[in-house]
């Protein structure tokens, strides 16, 4: 079914682009998210949309998918201007979209999830056969009767793609599709995408992984601050030149820490087991790790394999029964809360900056109080030392180049990258001897990410033990001494970062690491 369509798509589409955007502008109040953006999408090409967080990529594709309406400008479908009132109109034309965050019902089967979006004429009974057909045609290996909660992120993504393909789209938009995949799963996705391209479909591929874009895409349009700053052939560029276009300046290289002596073990986790906090959560099973002073210990893994549960156990937001399960600088703290662990000079940075690391409606100085209220001088007889809090906020803002519109604004007014610099800087300026940080540069622009990684390396050079949980393998290989992989709530034995390949880590991430829970 899909193949038969491919032939008529291939003809005559070189002259007029399948989908084009002409001088499109989108304003939210006084903020201009897209400023006269122009883009052509031809049949049979994979077109990359590159840009930092907040560059306006999402706004643009939301307009192409009928979620947002443009303030000015035209969307052309095969040369004719169109108005997309809602996603149904976009789908009817033949525009499909795979979102970064899956919208699947965990307790329903693959077939049921797919049937939910099919036109009402199609009977539920026909769904499994159709899905099997698509799955065969694109080598997806989907089992229609499996419940979604038993599937990996890669399989879930293939459901989302299959859902789109059932409607036989001519244009497929993919938003950061590899962010939740192992390298092997990403490889498989690329094969599927190549096949879709060969059928004459147009693919708009949003990413900030430059290597990926170079490998896969024929053209790239780069957005910065809502404007198109260039369209190029990514294969003719280097990752550095692409990044420079995205950021608008040359990025400084992170200096890896020089050879340094490792100190004694400062953070020791032994046989930590915790039941899953919620249905479909992840239970931690016999997790062990030891981080020495002066060492950066990386925890790699595909999202949803116990990272947040592990972080909560390390920070003391979830308590373990066994005090010796977690030892900070010789003190058994497994059953002690986060305040006790901070008093032992440990620092923590959770993944979610808005609402977890920081309270969005509170000012930056109040957010200093949030994690430092037990430090010396921050409170006196129950009263907050507001002056000290403001000074400390000021210090974080200057040392970490946090861009804010006012001297002490509410946290929510900061952009993602700036707030991340603030919550990381807040902990680093306390000069912790143990730092646990989850996704330190998630959704942060290239320049901010470099600042944060450099700060972590500098802290480590001072003798702190740092544990980083990250899904970004490039990041882990760049700054870690040793890397372990978390999969299904189990942590692998750590491997030295300098003599390990991405493939080895990738296999562990997919749960194929020999015994699976070696220690």
């Amino acid at each position: 079914m899909a193949q038969s369509h491919a032939t008529d798509l291939g003809q005559g589409s070189k002259a007029t682009p399948l989908l084009a955007v002409r001088d499109i502008t989108k304003r939210f109040g006084t903020f201009t998210a897209n400023d006269r953006v122009t883009l052509d999408l031809a049949a049979g090409e994979i077109h990359a949309l590159l840009g930092e967080n907040g560059a306006g990529k999402s706004t643009l594709v939301k307009m192409l998918y009928g979620i947002l309406e443009p303030t000015e400008g035209d969307i052309l479908w095969q040369g004719a201007p169109i108005r997309l009132a809602d996603p149904n109109a976009a789908r009817a034309l033949g525009i499909g979209m795979v979102f970064q965050h899956f919208s699947l019902f965990e307790n329903l089967t693959v077939a049921e999830n797919i049937a939910l979006v099919m036109p009402s004429e199609v009977k539920l009974d026909d769904a499994p056969a159709k899905i099997a057909e698509i799955s065969r045609a694109y080598g997806m290996g989907l089992e229609p009767s499996r419940p979604v909660w038993t599937l990996s992120a890669g399989e879930r993504q293939r459901i989302e793609i299959a859902r789109c393909l059932l409607q036989d789209p001519k244009v497929l938009i993919l938003d950061e599709p590899t962010s939740v995949l192992t390298p092997q799963e990403a490889e498989k996705l690329f094969e599927t995408l190549e096949r879709l391209k060969a059928e004459g479909r147009a693919l708009l591929y949003i990413s900030h992984h430059l290597e990926e874009v170079q490998r896969l895409c024929d053209r790239a349009t780069i957005l910065r601050l809502g404007k198109v700053v260039g369209t190029c052939n990514p294969r003719a560029e280097t990752p550095r030149s692409l990044a420079a276009l995205m950021v608008g300046s040359e990025i400084k290289e992170v200096k890896p820490a020089g050879a340094h002596a490792l100190g004694k073990e400062r953070l020791v986790v032994s046989n930590l087991s915790l039941p899953s906090p919620e249905l479909h959560g992840v239970a931690l099973k016999n997790v062990s790790a030891a981080v020495k002073g002066g060492e950066i210990f990386g925890v790699a893994g595909v999202a949803g394999n116990g990272q947040s549960e592990f972080f909560a156990a390390l920070s003391g937001e979830t308590l373990a029964r066994e005090p010796n399960a977690i030892v900070i600088d010789g003190s058994p703290v497994g059953a002690m809360g986060i305040a006790v662990r901070r008093a032992l000079n440990a620092g923590f940075v959770p993944e979610e900056r808005n609402g977890h690391a920081a309270a969005p409606d509170f000012t930056l100085s109040d957010n200093i109080v949030l994690s430092s209220h037990a430090s010396a001088g921050m409170t006196r007889a129950g009263f907050i030392n507001a002056k000290l809090a403001k000074e400390k906020a000021r210090a974080v803002i200057t040392s970490f180049d946090v861009r804010a519109a006012a001297p002490d604004p509410p946290a929510r007014t900061l952009s993602g990258g700036n707030l991340q610099k603030f919550v990381v800087g807040r902990e680093i300026l306390r000069d912790p001897s143990v730092l646990v940080i989850n996704q330190p540069t998630w959704g942060v622009d290239v320049a901010a990410a470099a600042t944060i990684r450099q700060a972590l390396l500098d802290l480590c050079a001072k003798g702190a033990a740092i544990l980083i949980i990250s899904q970004d393998l490039d990041e882990l290989f760049e700054i870690c001494d040793r890397i372990a992989v978390i999969h299904g709530g189990q942590l692998s034995a750590p491997l030295p970062a300098r003599s390990t390949t991405r493939e080895e880590i990738g296999l562990l991430m997919a749960g194929m690491g020999g015994s699976g829970h070696a220690h």
Partner: protein, 361 residues
Amino acid sequence: MRIDLEARPKRSALREILSPVVALIVAIVIGGVVVAIMGRSPLAAFDVYFVEPLSQSYSLQAIAVKAAPLILIAVGLAFCYRANLWNIGAEGQFIAGGALGGWLGLVTHDGAYQAIGSWWILPAMMLLGILGGVLYAMIPAALRVWLNVSEILTSLMLVYVAQLTLDWLVRGPWKDPQGFNFPVTVNFDPEATLPILFDGGTLHLGVLFAPIVVIIAAVVFSKTIFGFQVRLAGSSPKAARFGGFDDKRIAFAAFAISGGLAGLAGIAEVSGKIGQLLTTISPGYGFSAIIVAFLGRLSPVGIFIGGLVLAVTFVGGEDAQIALKLPGDMTLAFQGVLLICVLAADVLARYRLRFRLGGKA
């Protein structure tokens, strides 16, 4: 047509301060329409409700006497509401405080237990009043914290338990034996009655509790780590746990403050204004205080002003029953309209309405 709520790009402090004022004006206009439909002159009603109470010395005192319990209760509620705990049972906590504190007034009646002097009676009554409110608030707090039962339902239902218990006590064991079978208790001794501030007036000492509590609460909210915890727990519970604050302790503390202040308001009303226990000791202060809390934007100073506004409607409502033969329920209806207007104005201060023609939801 589709109506969208669109977040305003900037929050404006002026807009947020003005929104309750606009809400009050809109509520008055709606009230005027209702009065007109009932065949009375809206202008006369406005005069009776909002002008006359402010122009007579005795009614100004009556406003203060009515505003004090509203303010005390609402400041306590602000602690709960800021922490995202929806205590709507302040009426019950008010009655529990009034009853437990009033019990001491009955026990010490006619000079009993006053051999060591009578100086201790009033302070002890106030403390018992607070204790009664605290203990009564601990029931929904414990159910909420330990068993995750909605505090909205439990605190509300306990209001009726308190009302009926007081009714039974006053008709039964605590009834004045020489009261010709009226459902009232004996009158408290002067030693168990909060003194009147000015001769011939109605202002009693308990009225002063309100401004004192407002000042303390304002300081606690803005300057102390405890106030910070309460605000944080309500605004970002996950961040509060990350900060190392114990959300269970915060919940108990917020309920205790709320119940304690409602109990204090209860005993001040019983000891200062009524002077004995009756089957009903509150004209719905505990519920009206919810409106006061939101009218004051959950800030102690705002609540002080909001309490005075609501007290005007209580006093004006009493006058209107006499002058215009308007039913007493008109006051409660108006307060309800006011609450809806305040909540709507809060939303409109942060969002704006966008009407889209032809769009589908």
